[in-house]
């Protein structure tokens, strides 16, 4: 049963959320464009050309009826023509539909990527300061012992698509959001910096931390995949939990809680 509206998201939080959405959209698509310049991921300090340290490769080779796309992971290969390697007329790892710009231009993809990387970092710093000051981080994202004890029932509720709409995030939400903010995004920034030869000079410990520049590049790619999965689940959960209420909350700050959640402590 629907209860009253509560003010759940501050203007800082909402502005940061939408800036991140824009940043991650551009970072993802420009990043896939950059990847297309050399669509091979390696483990280690360098790329093996005279030896094999590749983890993943997306490529194309000539077939009887034109080029065929393939993905090879640790020596295991699958034909991905139409999706990866070759799609329509385009012979490139990720198809034009998911890259910025839509044709291959490493220079353009790079300037877009670094522009939004700076915006993302700036937004994160402002959000962090605002969140510490307002108590948003401690109150809404900090996972408590009570949260962890509620985990099994929360998983069961999610599995049955039974959502409780309260002022506060449930524990799976907390874990997902905190995982993005305090694990995935810092990892993306740190592995991104590890790929910068300038950053490696003043922070060589990054290379030690990630076992070399090429491993850092691989981790950057894998965390990208994790963020895409987060985005898809995020969209599904919004649809399942009531898209209009969720959208109102992230646009205006006001969220309609369940009637039995109205007395919930702030």
């Amino acid at each position: 049963m629907a209860g009253s509206l509560v003010y759940r998201q501050t203007v800082w939080m909402r502005a940061a959320h939408w800036l991140w959405a824009v940043c991650l959209f551009f970072l993802l698509l420009s990043g896939l464009g950059i990847f297309n310049a050399h669509p091979v991921l390696y483990l280690g300090k360098e790329s093996g050309f005279a030896y094999d340290n590749a983890l993943l490769e997306i490529g194309a080779r000539d077939g009887a009826e034109g080029p065929r796309g393939f993905v090879r992971i640790l020596g295991h290969e699958a034909d991905t023509t139409g999706w990866l390697g070759v799609s329509g007329e385009d012979v490139q790892a990720f198809p034009p539909a998911v890259t910025i710009p839509s044709y291959y231009s490493l220079a353009t993809s790079r300037i877009v990527h670094f522009f939004f990387a700076w915006v993302l970092v700036g937004t994160l710093l402002v959000w962090l300061a605002a969140g510490l000051r307002s108590g948003h981080l401690r109150r809404d994202l900090w996972v408590t012992g009570a949260d962890l004890r509620a985990l099994p029932s929360d998983i069961a509720n999610h599995a049955r698509l039974r959502f409780r709409h309260g002022r506060r995030y449930n524990v799976l939400q907390k874990l997902a959001y905190a995982g993005v903010m305090f694990l995935a995004l810092p990892l993306m920034i740190a592995t991104g910096l590890t790929m910068s030869p300038g950053a490696d000079a003043f922070a060589p410990w990054l290379l030690a931390l990630f076992h070399g520049r090429q491993t850092a590049r691989t981790i950057h790619f894998l965390v990208m995949l994790a963020l895409v999965v987060f985005f898809l689940v995020h969209m599904l959960m919004i649809l399942a939990a009531g898209p209009l209420n969720e959208l109102r909350s992230i646009l205006t700050g006001w969220y309609r809680v369940d009637a039995d959640a109205e007395g919930e402590a702030e």
Binding site: K45, S47, F49, I100, L106, F115, G198, F202
Partner: protein, 258 residues
């Protein structure tokens, strides 16, 4: 428009943007366009941030002999075919001279023997290509700072510009020669060398013989191969299309520390 209508339109707009394969953004590639310039300005921020934190002194990581597991992968031009270059190569580089000119007190003309007679530096470093790959090799050469000291840079000099023998692209107006430039901080950096040796042997043609630049805190395209002239300059307007390097003229960042 009510809230519901606004939301519906917003969602529809976002999905159109997604479905269009982002062709609306392709105007970004126009290097003289306002959108491109605004987005590319982030490179200035990266440059200033790296100079602020890294300064002129921090060293690129150096590696051990055991980390050299393969030859240096050649990229870009690998076989210049200009008559002058081919003649120099046929003569074992005996006729090669490196010119150092521009904003200097004492213009220089240095043979390979002159350069080899100067103090040398050997470093095992990682070459990072803008495409994403890396390759570790050992480089031997003369620190650029020593060559510049011989020529005596004038106070107005802000950039070192490197002119090369290789034609990187054929245009309607003829061959476009490769060129690059770095600031005086990188020019004077201890690991910035003019390399004539690689992995314990003479520098091969594919990797830039007889002389190439190593700028270890930047990406591979900054490290000009087949260098014949170094010019010190106050600005980069007078070279190529004015962006400071062949690749910068084609939309790549002039500063490639990232």
């Amino acid at each position: 428009m009510n809230r519901r209508g606004f939301l519906a339109k917003g969602v529809a707009g976002a999905s159109v943007l997604g479905l269009s394969g982002c062709k609306v953004l392709d105007g970004l590639a126009d290097q003289e366009g306002a959108l491109h310039r605004a987005v590319a300005s982030a490179n200035g921020l990266s440059y200033r941030a790296q100079r602020l934190i890294g300064g002129g002194h921090t060293l690129a990581p150096e590696y051990a002999e055991a980390d050299i597991r393969q030859g240096q992968r050649p990229n870009g031009s690998t076989n210049p075919d200009g008559a002058e270059y081919l003649a120099l190569e046929a003569g074992g580089w005996a006729g090669y001279r490196l010119a150092v000119k521009g904003l200097v007190e004492r213009p220089q003309s240095l043979s390979l023997a002159d350069l080899r007679a100067m103090p040398s530096r050997t470093q095992i470093t990682r070459h990072d290509c803008v495409e994403g790959w890396s390759c570790i090799a050992k480089w031997t050469g003369v620190p650029l700072a020593l060559v510049l000291d011989r020529a005596g840079p004038q106070a107005a000099a802000r950039f070192a510009v490197f002119r090369c023998y290789d034609v990187i692209e054929q245009s309607l107006a003829g061959g476009i020669l490769y060129y690059e430039s770095i600031d005086m901080i990188d020019a004077r950096h201890p690991q910035t060398i003019l390399a004539y040796g690689m992995n314990g042997a003479d520098l091969p043609v594919a990797n830039g013989a007889p002389l190439r630049l190593r700028v270890e805190r930047q990406l591979g395209y900054k490290m000009a191969k087949y260098v014949h002239t170094i010019e010190l300059a106050a600005d980069l307007k007078g070279y190529g299309e004015g962006h400071g390097s062949y690749w910068a003229d084609r939309g790549y960042d002039w500063y490639a520390g990232i």
